[in-house]
């Protein structure tokens, strides 16, 4: 029993639950036992809510018995620890919020609860989602399930590793510059960043508000469609959420890719791309040709400026967003501080980690008097150029295919002392956030060492169905997504 269910996807578990071959309580207990057995080594979870999860599972079993199940009834999930969960600690992997208990649910949390999901707990990340390796967590690193000496990617490293290691059926993450797609790629799972505005950000702790978006990390593309369906939609509590109807994502899975035009941007296959990664991605492209898709070379000429634009805009927004951590209304405060100004300085300096303070510093500088035009305004103008590149390319193709990252996962500690090198590891994922378009990362190969490699597909705004069609067609005819790490 123990081993037969652990590799399940959401849709496989749903079928077993509905056939009464397994109960939600059994499933939840199974995951809790597996977390207890393996998470000491991996450290995906910051908080496990065994009691809450079992209560939700009991409720799910009642609903299943009554034939009143919702789309995710009894499905055990993990949530990145920057999405508010009422009554359940939400730390953002920061010392500052170590004991923060949200008094409300994020809209996505509420939607998962309404759909019947079981919330196993909250998973690790880079502090305030700032990082590409999960090494910036104030509570310790998460390890890559494929190789314990390697990073799982970031910032949603705990989400990706928990899905890869079967410590949940699927997870939610957030993506500001690649934070869903890059860890999904490094852990060999599927990560979907929806179009900006597709999913409500209400209750998502803000890093860079014009770029942040919540999305699913799952074992296959069918599950991505299921989970996106559950969380997408307009929300009056998020004024930037799009007032557009939500399509039937599952229906997109059964379209075929014959005649689909896939653009291959030459700027993503140049210097710095690891040969093993290039080989796997090129093989995936050839596979699409065999499936009947048409490849065409395209150009996104401003790609090389994306990292520079991102690290000015994201840090500028962060410096403003993180001003709220002042030690007054919630969170940690240095108890030794005697005077108000001193309290701000002492609290923020000790409560926030090095990378977070580095980004606040950079953003404060980029917005400061005399430098605003040279940095923030300039970056916002180049952002327009990056968006125009995509608008133009999507007139000739429906999907753009690229590597997710220039290399497979790197070693723990390898880039931690060199922020610029770390930033450059996001070079292929950042443009999608700047342009606001959706992207998906799916497994397309392994290095000789056995580390997963990811393929990224990008599409025009709100064309998630096209992404799901293309990604599903690939998984129907390949088996990379079915491999599991040796744990």
């Amino acid at each position: 029993m123990m081993d037969s269910w652990q590799h399940l996807t959401i849709h496989e578990a749903q079928s077993l639950l509905h056939k009464k071959e397994i109960s939600a309580v059994e499933l939840t207990n199974g995951f809790l036992a597996r977390i207890a057995a393996l998470d000491g080594r991996l450290h995906c979870y910051l908080t496990v809510d065994a009691e809450g999860a079992l209560a939700q599972a009991q409720e799910a079993d009642k609903r299943l018995a009554a034939g009143a199940a919702g789309p995710l009834t009894g499905i055990p999930l993990a949530i990145k620890d920057l999405i508010a969960t009422k009554g359940l600690r939400t730390t953002c992997a920061s010392k500052y919020l170590e004991n923060f208990i949200p008094p409300y649910d994020a809209t996505v949390t509420q939607k998962l609860r309404q759909a019947g999901a079981v919330i196993l707990g909250k998973v690790n990340m880079d502090e305030f989602a700032m990082g590409s390796s999960t090494e910036n967590s104030a509570f310790g690193v998460t390890r890559n399930p494929w190789h314990m000496d390697y990073i799982p990617g970031g910032s949603s490293g705990g989400s990706a590793a928990a899905v890869a290691a079967d410590l949940c059926l699927a997870a939610l993450g957030s993506d500001t510059g690649g934070s869903i797609r890059q860890p999904a790629s490094h852990c060999g799972v599927v990560g979907l960043k929806p179009t900006y505005g597709r999913v409500s950000r209400f209750g998502l702790v803000a890093y860079a508000s014009s770029l942040d978006q919540i999305g699913p990390l799952t074992k296959d593309v069918t599950d991505s469609a299921l989970l996106l369906q559950a969380i997408a939609g307009h929300d009056p509590q998020d004024s930037t959420s799009a007032p557009l109807p939500v399509p039937d994502y599952a229906a997109a899975l059964h379209q075929d890719v014959t005649g689909l035009k896939i653009g291959v941007p030459r700027e993503y296959f140049g210097q710095g791309l690891d040969p093993e990664v290039e080989q796997a991605v090129r093989a995936a492209l050839s596979h699409y040709e065999r499936l009947g898709a048409e490849l065409l070379e395209v150009s996104l000429p401003h790609t090389e400026y994306a990292v520079a634009v991102y690290y000015l805009i994201a840090t500028a927004e962060a410096s403003s967003n993180l001003a709220r951590y002042d030690g007054v209304k919630y969170g940690w405060r240095d108890p030794a501080a005697k005077e108000l100004h001193d309290m701000y300085l002492a609290t923020r300096s000790q409560g926030l980690g090095t990378e977070v303070r580095r980004r606040i510093m950079l953003g404060t500088y980029a917005l400061s008097a005399g430098y605003y035009d040279a940095y923030y305004r300039k970056a916002s103008q180049v952002r327009t150029l990056i968006r125009r590149d995509f608008d133009q390319v999507f007139q000739t193709c429906q999907v753009v295919a690229t590597p997710v990252a220039p290399t497979a996962a790197f070693r723990l500690g390898e880039k931690i002392d060199d922020p610029l090198t770390m930033y450059l590891s996001d070079i292929f994922t950042i443009s999608a956030n700047l342009a606001g378009i959706p992207g998906i990362s799916l497994p397309c190969g392994f290095t000789a060492q056995g580390l997963p490699i990811g393929l990224q597909l990008l599409a025009p705004p709100f064309a998630e169905p096209t992404l799901l069609t293309a990604a599903h067609a690939f998984q129907q005819t390949t088996s990379f997504h079915r491999r599991r790490p040796p744990l």
């Binding site: 014009s210 919630y330 108890p335 108000l340 309290m343 180049v382 922020p419 610029l420």
Partner: protein, 94 residues
């Protein structure tokens, strides 16, 4: 444009951060590396390009002004580092 340790200390003041001497040295070096890298944006002529502040064409997202239940004072204060008589307590200001 190169950042001096004095400017770094001044930015830290604006951001309400206190840096040790070692951190000032480290941030000066790292922020200069990053600023040198982002200077590549100056290769592009953007005179005629409007800045993008937002990716969606949304303006004025209105909704009805309805009275709804909010947090109770106890809930709002539950995460406060220090509280007293239904108020946040802060150190002396003057």
């Amino acid at each position: 444009m190169s950042l001096t340790p004095e400017v770094v200390t001044q930015i830290a003041q604006l951001a309400r951060l206190r840096l040790s001497a070692v951190e000032v040295e480290m941030f000066t070096r790292q922020l200069n590396d990053i600023l040198l890298y982002v200077a590549k944006l100056n290769e592009l002529d953007t005179t005629e390009v409007p800045p993008m502040t937002h990716v969606l064409d949304l303006t004025n997202a209105f909704r009805p002004d309805e009275v709804k239940a909010g947090l109770s004072p106890d809930e709002a204060l539950a995460n406060a580092p220090q509280q007293q008589r239904q108020a946040f307590v802060v150190p002396k200001i003057i």
